[in-house]
Amino acid sequence: MAQRILNEEFVEKYDWILKPYFATSQGKLEYEEAKSAVENDFSKPSGIGALLIATRMSEEFKAGIVNIDDHLDSDSEVLRTLLYYHPDLTKKQKDALQKLGIIKLDNKVAELYKSAWNPDNPTMVM
């Protein structure tokens, strides 16, 4: 039973999200800071961390394990942001989420949150 987790396999699980994220202006800033930091003292928002969590969360909805309606008043800003970019949400629902607070994103990163709902994305689960 060779369950050893190879780093290459591990990175494959999120590589398809990293590439487009680090090509955005927000991602480039985060990337540059990671390159020059001497320890974990980032000043930029953790955009990639939130995007990875949101993308993984979307799998729970797409698998039918949880319902969107049950989480529209979530206390998680990441989850509210993910739901805000669901393609079928009504304006009223979006306004409610915005009122509760969502992460401020530039347009290109917002597109990545929208694409998290794509049913054909590869799974992130190991």
């Binding site: 987790i5 680090f22 320890e39 993984r56 698998a63 998680s76």
Partner: protein
């Protein structure tokens, strides 16, 4: 396939949840696309279809006693000056043998799991593993910890109970690297493997992340938990984006290997600004 799993002796723990059934959970995980769950079920099926694969507890006891005697000979020479140097075996070679032995224990039962960890935690002299001589196996135990046959109460105890800290490497410097500053804060390193393994129930994942959350930043297990098939929406909500980001960078740097991995108090600080890591990351992983 189902008939093979009927033989599975599942030693449950209420903390996993009232209706938690490991095999059913793994089967559901396979449907969700978990390759690890598929691999674990395949291993179980092989075990049940090959009775000779099971290792009797008497053999485990004999092996451990053999290791104890060999470490005692080393201890007696080093501390008491007993014996002839030419007759003392090489410690590194003995360690390699023990590590290999640990990798071959897939067929053991509940009694043997308890025996091995008890021998590891409660020992005299150099112990059976050389742990009394500052050798640590908290990384090497990962295959036992993620074995589906591990009794669940023992799994909980070794993950979030007092025994977890007793198994962890007491020498913290062994866990601290220059960048990103990532310390397991007294947690055994096998928890990295457990956090990603489908044998960890949703409740256990939640407790692992809660227990080690306040010990420092980043939380070392957030990224692995993210990729665990059993991480439900509530577990995912509690993950810290900064910890996920910092652990991501750690893993990517680990992938790059070579010149960046320096233990804090052992090797001189490298020049991170010129380190090749991010260039490599750009070239190989991010692709721009």
């Amino acid at each position: 396939m189902a008939s093979a799993f009927e033989k599975f002796e599942f030693i449950s723990d209420p903390r996993d949840g009232k209706d938690f059934d490991l095999v059913k959970n793994l089967e559901a995980a396979v449907l969700r696309g978990s390759d690890l769950a598929k691999e674990i079920l395949g291993g179980l099926e092989y075990k049940f279809n090959n009775p000779n694969f099971s290792i009797p507890h008497s053999r485990i006891e004999a092996d451990i006693n053999g290791f104890k005697e060999r470490w005692e000979a080393i201890r007696a020479f080093e501390e008491d000056g007993d014996g002839d140097e030419e007759d003392i075996e090489d410690q590194d070679e003995l360690c390699v043998e023990i590590c290999y032995w640990l990798e071959t224990l897939q067929g053991i039962g509940g009694e043997s799991f308890r025996y091995i960890f008890n021998e590891y935690i409660n020992f005299e002299g150099f112990g059976a593993f050389g742990q009394g001589n500052q050798l640590n196996y908290d990384q090497e135990f990962w295959e036992l910890i993620t074995n589906p046959s591990m009794p669940r109460d023992l799994l909980w105890e070794l993950s979030v109970g007092d025994s977890a800290e007793r198994v962890a490497d007491p020498d913290e410097s062994g866990h601290i690297y220059w960048y990103p500053l990532r310390d397991l804060y007294g947690a055994p390193r096998y928890l990295n493997h457990l956090s990603i393994s489908p044998v960890a129930s949703t409740n256990l994942l939640s407790e692992i992340n809660k227990k080690y959350e306040g010990w420092g930043s980043p939380n070392p297990f957030n990224l692995h938990t993210l990729l665990n098939v059993n991480a439900d929406i509530h577990v995912l909500k509690d993950l810290d984006p900064e910890s996920v980001r910092d652990n991501l960078i750690y893993e990517v740097k680990l992938l790059q290997g070579d010149d960046w991995l320096y233990e804090a108090e052992v090797l001189p600080e490298p020049d991170w600004r010129n380190a090749s890591l991010m260039r490599n990351l750009s070239k190989n992983t991010i692709g721009y």
